[in-house]
């Protein structure tokens, strides 16, 4: 069993530790494969067939098909790899970021222009600061 970590207390954050890395390995390596133009074409032509080439879980496969950007992270996806999936589908990084925190791309972009998300209340679940 995984022992609790101090960083589990950071809200809205999924530290890419060895456990998540192992769990998400094939999902992330699928994302990596999309660096090659021929693979991007193959994926866009038939997503399900292309995803079958990677031994990921059914849940992970569905998260890609459903464009569940936060779900991918929770299933072991790493943002540097899932963002390659987003780029292949024509999404900007801020669109994916907005999706993960339940905001429209416009609202997310606006929040950034105003200085970003305030750290106040966003640093510790247990100590609420």
């Amino acid at each position: 069993m995984r022992k609790p970590r101090e960083y589990d207390d950071i809200p809205g954050t999924y530290v890419f530790d060895y456990e998540r890395s192992h769990r998400g390995y094939h999902l992330n390596m699928f994302g990596m494969s999309l660096l090659k133009p021929e693979n991007r074409e193959a994926f866009l032509a038939d997503e399900e067939a292309y995803l079958k080439k990677f031994p990921m879980t059914e849940e992970q496969r569905q998260s890609v098909l459903n464009r569940d950007w936060l779900g991918m992270i929770k299933l072991g996806g790493n943002i540097y790899y899932t963002s390659k999936i987003g780029a292949t589908l024509g999404h900007s990084f801020q669109y994916i970021a907005g999706e993960m925190c339940g905001m429209s791309q416009e609202d997310y972009a606006d929040m950034m222009i105003k200085g970003g998300r305030n750290p106040e209340g966003n640093r510790s679940v247990s100590e609420k600061y």
């Binding site: 530290v15 890419f16 060895y18 992330n28 660096l35 780029a87 339940g102 950034m112 970003g116 750290p119």
Partner: protein, 279 residues
Amino acid sequence: MAKITAGVATSHVPAIGAALDLGKSGEPYWKPIFDGYDKSKKWMAEAKPDVVILVYNDHGTAFALDVVPTFALGVTDIYPPADEGWGPRPVPNVHGHVELSRHLAESLILDEFDLAIINEMAVDHGLTVPLSLMCGQPEAWPFKVIPLAVNVVQYPPPTGRRCFKLGQAIRKAVESFDEELNVVVMGTGGMSHQLHGERAGMINKEWDNQFLDDLSGDVQRLVQLDHVEYMRETGAEGIEMVMWLIMRGALNENVKEVYRFYHVPGSNTAIGNIILENS
């Protein structure tokens, strides 16, 4: 003898490279950022380093998750810009300084820093965006570059203390290289940014500015920061700032801050830039 004369730290946001490459640097969103780097570019043009040791991280481009080196040093003569999914950036190839990089590899490993060695590698925005910010859009980069890639993607990255000590060892190694070379060390990445999860977009200006202050004022405080503090206070991806401590470790105990720039946002990130000269 080779000598490290200064250190530079800068963020390496990919969207900044894209803005420059697509001719958008004059747009209202990007202009303040490029204006902020004007002084840095002037400084770099006057400093005229022969070699820059450029500390950065690869973002799932040259390295994936199959092999994850904590520290990896480039020892070859040419590093092309990588295709990160949109075709390579239209920037010059990066040329290494083979002799100095071999000397660094040998010295550092014998000094008990167990580096991985890179003989062939394309370099992603982590390395090329800092060059663009510090040099603009030249036909060829005006100095040789030795890439030092640090894992900050797979947790845990090396500690800030280890990074600082590696910087100190780099300085010792450079100073034992018997060719007259002016060497600048660059640390890249940061500052505040969280790119994933429900907390995406968090920026901690106060923390970042204290970090900038302490690079010259209280580096021992920075060396002691642990990973949870970086992630909690500056966003999970803000942990890239440990790479700045390699740069800092390679400088004298006392340094003079000659320039600083801080701006929010560059896409999802707080942009920070600082120049420190050995005093």
